[in-house]
Each structure stands twice: as structure tokens, then as C-alpha cells.
Symmetry: D2
Subunit: 290 residues, 4 copies
């Protein structure tokens, strides 16, 4: 697992460094092979620049070299993404991750130029992070071309529309040379494993459950992996997909990892209703997270 | 279960009456308490008027009074929907179902006028069918008002955005008087059961599996219902949701119910890819439908 | 001008044949070189099959061979569109027009198969009608390929996203051989004329104004064409684009052409507000239609 | 006129301070009554934080108190918008402007909380800027309530869907007390004037033309205002609406105001095609900007 952490804040939107360090520890305890920040699960777009800088320092410090740290550099402008990548490298990050700018979304030429600019700016390996807004632009062909032609582009996290098909195309066309990382919050995880995807970048709301599925599969026990996936992951995911920002933080708060479960305002989704809450609690208690 | 049937066609888009009769029999064997046609699963918008008339005759004939027959009257214009409702009544249908017109979608006043016009045109009870395009217009408040003020409006099938929440609101506000029918292809079925929804209108691709979940729950065995739902329904649904038109017909073809698995052209979705196919087959074989 | 007529109805949605004949006469008086029905302006999707048949008969009768009659065959299914095309040919239409099915929208292969099926079903020339929902599928390349490979495909009405660019591509690539018809309700009319587009298919709300612009341009008076366009067409179009279904019928009602200005229910747009109404009236009085 | 300026950059995305000062001078020469920055026309989301700070300083310096300076504080998070507002006040801005956060868009309660937080953070008057993404949330009712209940909320710039109707509702319901500012790039400008809207916040691509329309109208010459609007503004606007980011900078570059016409990468729209370019040039030469 390569979990992406949430940003731990206080009720007044200050960083909560103690909680953030506990998230790092929780990921390491669940067997994370890399730890990341500034994905969507991190609410990266709602973090101020000074907070960003401090978070990178703190995570690098807490991880202390035990696993690689990957840092998202996504920004609405190419030049600001480049600055984020440089800053992360300066502060000791090991890998840069970036999805396409999300306000003005570039076309394919613009996407290539963006990753080329990032690669020029840093010596670190780069994860291209596909997402909902990028999935029609970052086609398998373009991803393979960038993997071939831009030196630092080393990994692809495929998400968004038809990600399973895109993953298969990337693996096939590269003869397995392009390392594909799974995501999509865990959707189709059992199928990604069967496709040969070994690494998963999901939120941290249930790294233990996700890790158990992956471990069973990699141990050769497909049946057990499927059973765990269908009995413990899929049931909560159908709620999580509608309320991920809120539930990620709540689930970590209930485990004692995060002090404050608040989403950084504004929240883009209405809070879970009482009906959903009751059903979600029932699911959590069935899967041992109640 | 109140399954909605597909339209059985030949390769040249003629009706395949023998297959259509087998679909009716398959539904009855699975314990259907009502059988319907001209929902989305029926590709109702791609059936010609003469085909529509013949299908109603044939279904009424094949069901032969064993269970009620409900017929969709949805059309792009109010006056054509009214004609479909009258025709269905004349041909012996028991219940009319209708979602909002789907090309020019009316506002709330237009929606009320539409169901009032249908109610004026027929003496049959009416199921208001909520769907993706109608869910922001057919609010719980409007649905309750129509249930109160329009005599024939007797049932609501809630679907579309936040349907679980809307269902709970309808049940609560009506004190259980408004019969709410579950749908959404089976999504959240276990939660709808726990909410008190006893009837389900899904496609016919796996009426047996859906029926087993419902039966277990109504027999008081919530744990068994949940297990069946998580192990046999949810795993195939995650594929079915992306390819329902194609898979509905294929799954019935493989059971020997439909001779021809073809979707009426044009198909609105690309065919399933090889990768998805392989994974879907693996799921089917795991759940006993391989 | 090749105007597309509205469907004249009574307040109870019966056909109003006298009004419909007056629309034909109004178009002929404005110098129409062809007259059509069953475009979006005709509310074709809200006309019943018997009404459709009667409308084609009546229009063919009223036009009486003075100009060609083109009839839209667009339908949600390929086989029903084919039936509409055959019926129109049987009833004396001169040209078939069709845009892509609009509920399940086909991909490029499906689009080709659809026009090929229409061409197989009729000996009449076919106008491919591009529209908002089809514009990303009916690329210039595909349109040119269909013009080359499907015998009856004779004209393209380019509309939807970037239609000016698509038109120029069609004219350039075909060396002017593919006759391109302008539409878009009159948007960019002066630019389409400068591009070499000689024929326009717009609604009938102001055929006289549109015709005056085209006549001035074709008479070599670009400056007068531009002046007429900017002073008499563009000012009302900015309102018309938001309320075309309502205003088309109202403007014809005020000219005494249509008895009943009602849109066939349901209307897909809220009625014009008082503020817009007041401003629209001010525009109409400035351009001589008050 | 209350023009919103573009951000003047060099080819390598550094600030071009000399050009930026020329934009200020150009606005003042055109009779601007206020000058603003960090609207959409400023590409505010693609400006780094140090660039933002420097831009505010420089604009305040160049305006030198001749007219009020309004500064946009819009940001994806409430706490970062608050910081931008405070910074602008510290640096000498006169008015704060903000539209809703645009990544996670808040609901109505969140919108109220956002403007209340901004009002708490600054003593400056606030312009609520409505836009496409906010227009269904910032209803006339909510805008009026915020004008009543939040002290610093002093102006509304209504844009987005049905802005003409919303403006009329705001003016009527407040008895004219709520100052409404026009925008929408100049769409419906003549109608906004007739509605009683005296102030306009548009881009700076043609402040002179916009100002001439407004001046004629306020001088009591409605006919001249309409003529200028229809002959000089509307003809270029139909192109400008599709390519505003590119054309704003190009038009200022051609006037000698901006040295570099480049949009800050990535551009969210494909560049204008040759066909559009040719027609746009023809329009510019007709309206005296060629």
C-alpha cells in the first residue's frame, strides 16, 4: 500500500502536527511501502502555501527514511506546480506526483508540456496521477509516450473513466515495464490485483483492510483476497464513494488517529444524512470498524 | 420482486415472441409478484408503436392474470404518454408506470400536470418512477403532494441521486402509507430492506439472486440476506452498472431465456472490453452464473 | 433559405392544419428554396406517429411541388428512423434529414451504420444534420467519409460546438463538392456567408430578416448584409437562443400565421420572465417586428 | 466602467510590471471609476502567492488613489480567501471582491459562512461576485439576505445563468438599495442599462467601446447606446465568448498595452482557429480595432 494521507487540522484550520504524525505512524504500522501527501484525499487545493511547506517537512521528518515519501505538486498553473515540485525536492521528498491542472484543463499537447516542465524542474521520479478530470486526455497512448520520452516519468496511477481498461492497455503495451499503481479508492481492487497491479494508492480510512486484501492475493490466496474484498471493503465503499472527504477523516478520528474530523471548509458535498449514517454504522460494525 | 423485462428481439429488430414469453416464465418461476415492461431495461424508447401494442398484448396473455402487469407509459410528450397509458389499459394492463419526459424535462409544475394528465386518462393505479433525469425535480415533497392530491398515484419507485435518503423521507412523512418500491438495479438493496422497502423493481438479469436476498431478509434472517447480497449481488453489479443494457440481455441469453442478446441499435455504451469481460466472467463463475 | 417549420397545434395538442398550411405559405412568400419539417424547431420528438404521417401528407400537398420538401427521420432507434424515412418517401417527400439518435447516442461506427441504414432504406438524398449532441461524434473526417462512401448522403447541416470551424474543414477538404447548409438559429450567419455557405436552415420565426441578409450578401453587398445582420438579427437572437421553442411559436402567432402559440407539453425551458419579455419586446419593436 | 485587468506576464511567466502599469493607465484613460484585479479575466487561479502580493502593491501604487482599487480574494478554501482579503487590505486595496470557492463549491449555508468569514476578516466593503459555478447557489434571496445581514456586503456582480432576471429581482426587492454591477463580458449590456444598472465590470479588451455605450445611455441617448452596442460590441463578443482568455490579452497587445499576449499555461481552451481568426479580424477592422 502507498496511502495518501489527509491533512490534519484543528477546528480553526491550523495544522495539527501531532495528529499528522499519528497518521504517518498508522500508515507505517499497516505496512505502507510508501507514504504520500497532496492527493485529493489530502484536500491539497485547500492548503495554504506555508502549510504545504510545513507539511512536507513534518512528513519527511516523521517517516525518517523508512519508506519513500511522495508529494503531490498539482496546481492550477504549470509554473506553480513546478515551484511545488522544486520545494518538495528541496525538503527531502523522494517522488513527485501530479495530476493535470484542474481549473483550466490542458489538452494533450498541454499535458505533455506540463509533465515535461515538471521533469525539467526536478531530478525526482514522477508519478502521473490520472483522475476524473484528466482521464479522457491522459489516454493510454499519451501515457506510454510520456513514459518513453520524459525521463523522470516512472509510474502511472490510473483512475477516472474506464481505468481498468486503461491499466490493462498500459501493462500490455509496455510489456509490464510501466509500473501501474491502483487507486479509485479501492473500486475494482480485486480485479486490479488479478490484472497484475501490485501497488495501491488509496486513502487511509482503512489501510488495514486494503492491505489484508493485497497481502492475501500476493500470498497466492485469491479466494481469500476476494472474500475479504467482498465482505469488508466493498460494503463500506458504496457509501464512502459519496462522502469520501467526510468519512476519511471521521474513520481516522474514531480510530484515535486524528483529533479533529473536520473537512477544510468549504466542503463540496453535503454531510451524510441520518439514514445513510445509520446504514454506514451498521456496515462498519459488521466489518469490525464499528 | 417486480422485475422489468427486456424487449426480446431478433437480429433484425423484429419482436421475438417466443423469447419474450420465456422471459415472463422466468420471472414467474423466480417468484415475481408483478411483472412489468417499458422501463429503461426494456429499451422502451427504441420500440415502435406497433411493437409496443403487440408486446402489451403478449405479456398480458402470457402472464394470464397470475400476477399484475405494469406497463410504462413514459414518452417525450404528455399527450403521447397519455395515449400509451390508455392503450395499456385497453389491452388489459393492471398498473401504469411513468417517469418524467426525458428529452424536454418539465419543471415541478410540469411534472405535476403530467401525472395529473395520466391519472385523468386512466382508471389504473400509477407508479411514479423516479430516475436519474427526474431526481432533482421529483423531490420527496412533490412526490408526497402528488400521492395526496392525485387519486391514482399509488406507488413511488425512487431512484437517481440520493435515493436512499428520498425513500426514508417518503416513508417517514407518509407514516408508511406511501408504498415505496426499490430499484437502482439493486444498489443498496440490503439497506433498502433495512429501511422497510419490501418490493424491488430491478432488471431480470438475476431475479433469482435478488429474490434470494429479499426472501432471506423477509424471513427474518438479516445476516444471511447481507451475506448473499455482498457475496453474490454486489460483485457483479459493479460491472453491470457500466454495461447494463448489454449484460442484461447476455445474462438472459446464457440462461437460455433470450435467443438473441443484441441491444436494439444504437447502443448508447461501447461494448464491454476484453479485460472487463474476463473479470466479469470470473465474477459470474464465482456466484454460480458462469 | 430552407426553413424548418414548427408543428401547428391546437390548445389540446391536435394538429391545426389551417395554421400549418399558413406556415408553408409564409415560408414560400419569404422566398424559401426548400421547406422542411421534423427538425428540433418542429418539436419532432413530441409528435405522435399518426400526427407525423398526416403532417407529411399535408405539407407535401400544400407545397405542391413548388420547392423540395425535406422531412426529418430522426428517432431514438435505427429501425424506427428507417421506418420514418420510408414513410416520408412513400408520402412524397423529396429529401430525408436526420441527426443522430439522441437518447442512446451512438459512437462513430454506430453513426456510420445509422446513416448507411437510412441510405439503404430510401432512394432520396439525405441531409446529415449535425446538432449539439452529435457534434463531437460527427467530426469533419467522418462526415466526409460518409459523403464519399454512402451514396445518398448529399448535404451536411453543421451545427453544435465549433460549427464554423467544421464547416470550413468540410468545404476545404471536399473542394467545395460537399454542400454545407448553415443553421445554428442564425448565429454567425454573416460569417457563414463569407465562408461560402449559400443555404440556411433556420426556424421560421423571422425568415424575412434572415432572407434579407442572405439576399444582400449574394447580391454582392457584404456591407449591407453585415448591417442587417447586426441591427436586425443578432439583437433578438441573444434572447431567442434561451427561449427558442416558446418564441418561435409566439413570433409566428403575432404575425397571424399560427393560431395557437403553445409549445407541446412538456416545455423543456421555463417561460420567459417579465424582465426578459420587456426587453425582448423592445428589441422586436426596434427591428420592425413589434 | 470598473474594469478587471489581466495579469501581465513575460513569456516565462514572470510578472511584467511595466505592462501591468500600462493596463492601469489604459483603464484610467478610458474613464474607469474603479480598477480591479484577480477576477477570472486576471487568471487569478494561476498566479502564485508572491506574484499576488506584488501585483496588489503595484496596482495600488500605479492607481495612486485616483479611483478605488478592488481586489479579488477568491480561493479554494475559506481560510485562504480570508488571508487574501487581509493581505489586500494591508496593502491598501479599497474593496474586496469574491466569488464562491470553485473546486469544492459550498451549498447555501456554506456560501453564507464564507462571506461572513470574509466580512469578519476585513473592514473593507465586499463585492459578491456571482459567476457560472455559483449562480444556482447565490439566488436572489440569498444575496439579499447577505446584503441585509452581513455588514460589509455592499455590492453584487450578478453573472451566470439568467443574470438579467436575477439583477431585476435584486433591484426590485431592495428598492434599488443594493447596488448591482453588470458583467457577463458585456452580454446584454444595453438591457442591463435599461434595467437601471449603472456600473459594469468587464474585461479590459475594449473598455473604450463599453464605456462609449454606457456614456451614451447615461447621457439620455438610448438610441445611440443601442446602435453602438449592436454595431461595435455584440459583433466581436460572439467570438470573444469562446476565446476570452486568449483574445483579451491579444487585443491589449495589439493596442500596445501588453508586451506579451501569452495566456498563463495551461490554457483551458484551444487556440482560435484560422477560420475564426480571419472572421474575427474582419470584425475588428469593421469596428475600428483592426
Amino acid at each position: 500500500m502507498m496511502p495518501i494521507m489527509p491533512t490534519a487540522i484543528t477546528d480553526s484550520c491550523e495544522l495539527d502536527e501531532a495528529s499528522q504524525r499519528r497518521v504517518v505512524q498508522y500508515c507505517l504500522e499497516c505496512g505502507a511501502v510508501a507514504i504520500g501527501h497532496f492527493g485529493y484525499a489530502s484536500e491539497f487545493h485547500k492548503v495554504s502555501d506555508p502549510q504545504r511547506r510545513r507539511l512536507v517537512e513534518l512528513i519527511v521528518d516523521e517517516v525518517a527514511g523508512r519508506v519513500p515519501v511522495f508529494i503531490g505538486a498539482t496546481a492550477p498553473a504549470v509554473h506553480t506546480a513546478v515551484q511545488y515540485a522544486r520545494e518538495a525536492e528541496d525538503l527531502g521528498a523522494d517522488i513527485i506526483m501530479a495530476t493535470l491542472p484542474y481549473v483550466d484543463v490542458p489538452d494533450q499537447d498541454g499535458a505533455f508540456a506540463y509533465y515535461a516542465a515538471l521533469a525539467d524542474a526536478t531530478a525526482l521520479p514522477i508519478i502521473i496521477q490520472d483522475a476524473g478530470h484528466s482521464s479522457s486526455i491522459l489516454t493510454a497512448d499519451l501515457l506510454l509516450r510520456m513514459f518513453d520520452e520524459i525521463d523522470n516519468v516512472c509510474y502511472v496511477k490510473a483512475e477516472g473513466k474506464n481505468f481498468l481498461v486503461k491499466m490493462a492497455a498500459l501493462i500490455d503495451a509496455s510489456g509490464g515495464a510501466l509500473p501501474v499503481i491502483g487507486g479509485a479508492g479501492g473500486k475494482h481492487m480485486i480485479h486490479m490485483l488479478r490484472l497484475g497491479v501490485p501497488a495501491f494508492m488509496t486513502g487511509t480510512e482503512a489501510v488495514d483492510l486494503h492491505a489484508a486484501v493485497v497481502r492475501a492475493y500476493l500470498d497466492g490466496n485469491e479466494e481469500e483476497a476476494a472474500r475479504l474484498y467482498y465482505e469488508t471493503v466493498l460494503p463500506y465503499l458504496v457509501f464512502y464513494m459519496d462522502h469520501s472527504a467526510q468519512l476519511l477523516k471521521e474513520m481516522l478520528h474514531r480510530r484515535g488517529v486524528l483529533d479533529c474530523p473536520k473537512v477544510i471548509p468549504p466542503s463540496g458535498a453535503p454531510p451524510m444524512t441520518d439514514v445513510e449514517r445509520r446504514e454506514f454504522e451498521w456496515v462498519l460494525s459488521r466489518i469490525g470498524l464499528g
